[in-house]
Amino acid sequence: MEKLRNIVDKFKPQFEKGGRFGWLHSTFDGFETFLFVPNTVTKSGAHIRDVNDTKRVMIVVVLALIPALLFGMYNTGLQHFRAIGELTQAESILGCWWYGFWRVLPLILVSYIVGLGIEFIFAQIRGHEINEGYLVSGMLIPLIMPIDIPLWMLAVAVAFAVIIGKEVFGGTGMNIFNPALLARAFIFFAYTPFISGETVWVRGFSKGGPFVDGFSGATPLTSLSESASSGTLDFGDYSLWDMIVGTIPGSIGETSVIAILIGAIILLWTGVASWRIMVSVFAGGLVMGLIFNLIGGNAYMDMPAYYHLVMGGFAFGAVFMATDPVTASQTNVGKFICGFLIGVIAVLIRVVNPGYPEGMMLSILFMNALAPLVDHYVVAANVRRRNKRLKTVKA
């Protein structure tokens, strides 16, 4: 590595302030610190420091997303071959994965190139170091998109999420809303037909073509919300087991509960994500489902509550979205409260609002907005305790 270091050292002066490429300092620094942990030493205070840094934190999250990503690729192929009736192809795991790999890869590339490009420009303008936050957002965004999303649309959504969602607030660590969910919400409201309905979840289906007669392409949630009004429960052709394994239509990374749980184990074991949030989101969803069971009234309300946890984006949102430390609640008590409410509201939207079959995205964004308020009251309680102490002393 000595050689590589020498090369970097050779070019470094040109990128320093006043050098020929001084205006590219942040960009150079971004690549340099990616290759080499810098030689900065502590000046005062704690002379030794934990080796953990934000790069490590972010890379752990990306690692935790890998199972969902790999399964998403496989499932993309599986759904496609099922739809066009090539069932022998659909039986080959590697074949399905390979097909999906080439379809998902462009989405990931667009997400990273556009998002990181904007991050680099902003870091450069501010003269800051490049923040690693987008490494995670950039992977999350493709995973919560339908496979057939046009690439230009993805690029616009990413740009919106990074600029309006993050950079105007001051960058990673300062944002109010989860950038990945903002990207999805942007498409959801600006280009609704491309992210909802029955045709977007299977590769090529929206464009028509040689598809099997009677193939619907609807996600179980869509089928459910449409059938519930007529008083029956219809999950399409899918069983509970299909929904847990993930061999159903849906956003790329959200379908497999098993792959998501592997990610959840990585996040919880390393302590990167808060178990308080994760557990309370699931608890909130379950409790709201049980409340609907008690009320009864229609078929959807009578559906066993645990179905909510395995359908749609609930698990993915609970594990990867609700736990974003920047936009979630920051106090331990607040984490329980906000997490629980995310679960409750998500199920509430699903069951009560026929317009939106899925409620997870809106529920998390809503609680992102409320988290500072919840935290405010938690911290205010601490302040009250301190002031009360003061009064008892005076009395």
Partner: protein, 452 residues
């Protein structure tokens, strides 16, 4: 039987280089240094010039804002020079020792018979007053104040910290008299925090209010102990002292002479023989560490720290031991690049995060260097600091209030209860690499400025 308080939150960082329990008696050095920078909130005004003869206890300078607070010489001899830094800031007063240790005479009474004023005057005259620290703010105490209590921590829980029971062996009588004197300073109680489960000289002190603490660092920090015994509210003042200083006060009352001899723990991975030494306060590192630092490879430097690795001060190797420390630590500098370090397993490094592997070997002792291990970022990870500050405080909210210079919020969120050392562990674990101790000191200085 004293009360025991169990603390769960905190962290013991295990390092290589614990001092062996053996005291090496060091001979007198040629020169000694006293630095005003060792004391927070002091603007020095000199009382001596180069060439002046001084005895042990002769005043060298005083605090401009409290002229009765004197800082005195630990040795007898002549003033050699005054070293200065930028803007002629006084760095140290260097004294050439003559080895005779002639002492100024101080009139003493038995501590239990002396009045409050007599104790105060003796401490001020002898130069021991600056070792009385005021909380809030962690600055040298104002003699005119009425503290609601006095707190002394009887043990140090920082990494590689000296074992006070060993350091103070045989000082039973001095400690007793020292605490007796402290009792005169306050209408309230004198509290001593002891380590649960020990029965050394510190635990044997009987003339004060004792509370035992159990748990990881920072259980030995006096700030944490105050928080759990009798927390500081707005408008209240308490005084704190280091326990070795209490013994020195006792010595003064018992003999009428100032004797600044202390026991220091020499610690850290880069020492050949980590050991305890007995030396006079202000001795040069050259004499303390001579021949004891391991041979370093090419381009490899070491860092000498006045105090422990978490909250000590970086020292100049040609400088002098700080007046208010019991420990000197020597660790390797970390000014090296590390290829793709953030992605590596890094089995020989320590982290509280389970994304590394130090949790597999909880008993292992580490050699840690001074590398920052990352770049500075805004606060991102939440819920981490709370685990390393055993107080009813929301650390991140407090730090953000300090950054926003919001006095009201700082007050409400507990700035009166902390000083730098209490948040040192937060700084250690922070993946965003913020200099939290510096932030806290800036916040405290702002409070002093705005509220005075």
């Amino acid at each position: 039987m004293s009360k025991t308080i169990k603390l769960k939150r905190g962290l013991d960082i295990k390092l290589v280089g614990k001092a062996e329990k053996r005291i090496v008696e060091l001979p007198m050095s040629e020169s000694y240094g006293v630095s005003p920078l060792d004391f927070e909130g002091v603007v020095p005004k000199l009382l001596v010039r180069p060439g002046d003869a001084v005895k042990v206890g002769t005043p060298l300078f005083f605090n401009k804002y409290h002229p009765d607070v004197l800082f005195t010489s630990p040795v007898s001899g002549t003033v050699d020079c005054i070293t200065r830094g930028d803007k002629r800031k006084i760095l140290a007063i260097v004294i050439n020792a003559d080895g005779k240790q002639e002492s100024e005479k101080f009139e003493t009474k038995p501590a239990d018979k002396a009045s409050k004023e007599e104790v105060k005057e003796l401490l001020l005259k002898s130069g021991l007053w600056p070792f009385v620290t005021q909380r809030p703010y962690g600055i040298v105490a104002n003699p005119a104040d009425e503290p609601k209590a006095v707190f002394v921590s009887g043990f140090n829980s920082a990494p590689l910290a000296p074992d006070m029971d060993f350091v103070l062996e045989g000082e039973d009588e001095n400690l007793k008299v020292g605490f007796e004197a402290l009792k005169k300073l306050t209408a309230g109680k004198v509290h001593l925090g002891i380590k649960a489960g020990t029965d050394g000289v510190v635990s044997r002190v009987s003339n004060v209010e004792k509370t035992a603490f159990q748990g990881p660092h920072p259980a030995g920090n006096v700030g944490v102990q105050i928080h759990h015994i009798d927390p500081i509210n707005k408008g209240e003042i308490v005084w704190t002292l280091d326990i070795q200083t209490v013994a020195i006060i006792g010595r003064l009352f018992n003999t009428g002479k100032l004797d600044m001899t202390k026991v220091y723990a020499l610690t850290g991975s880069e020492l050949i023989e980590p050991v305890y030494v007995r030396a006079i306060s202000g001795a040069p590192f050259v004499s303390l560490l001579r021949g004891n630092i391991k041979r370093q490879g090419r381009d490899q430097k070491v860092r000498i720290i006045n105090g422990d690795v978490l909250s000590g001060k970086k020292a100049d190797p040609r400088g002098y031991v700080a007046s208010n420390t019991n420990q000197i630590t020597v660790i390797p500098e970390g000014d090296k690049y590390e290829f793709l370090g953030w992605a590596m397993p890094r089995c020989n490094k320590f982290s509280v995060s389970r994304s590394y592997f130090s949790w597999l070997r909880p008993k292992r002792e580490y050699v840690l260097d001074t590398n920052l291990h990352g770049g500075h970022r805004p606060y991102i990870v939440t819920g981490l600091f709370e685990r390393y500050l055993p107080m009813d405080i929301y650390p991140m909210y407090l730090f953000k209030a300090i950054l926003a210079k919001d006095i009201d919020k700082m007050e409400n969120l507990g700035i009166y209860e902390i000083v730098e050392e209490d948040v040192a562990l937060c700084e250690f674990v922070d993946p965003s690499k913020n200099n939290i101790q510096q932030t806290v000191r800036e916040g405290i200085n702002l409070m002093i400025k705005e509220l005075s």
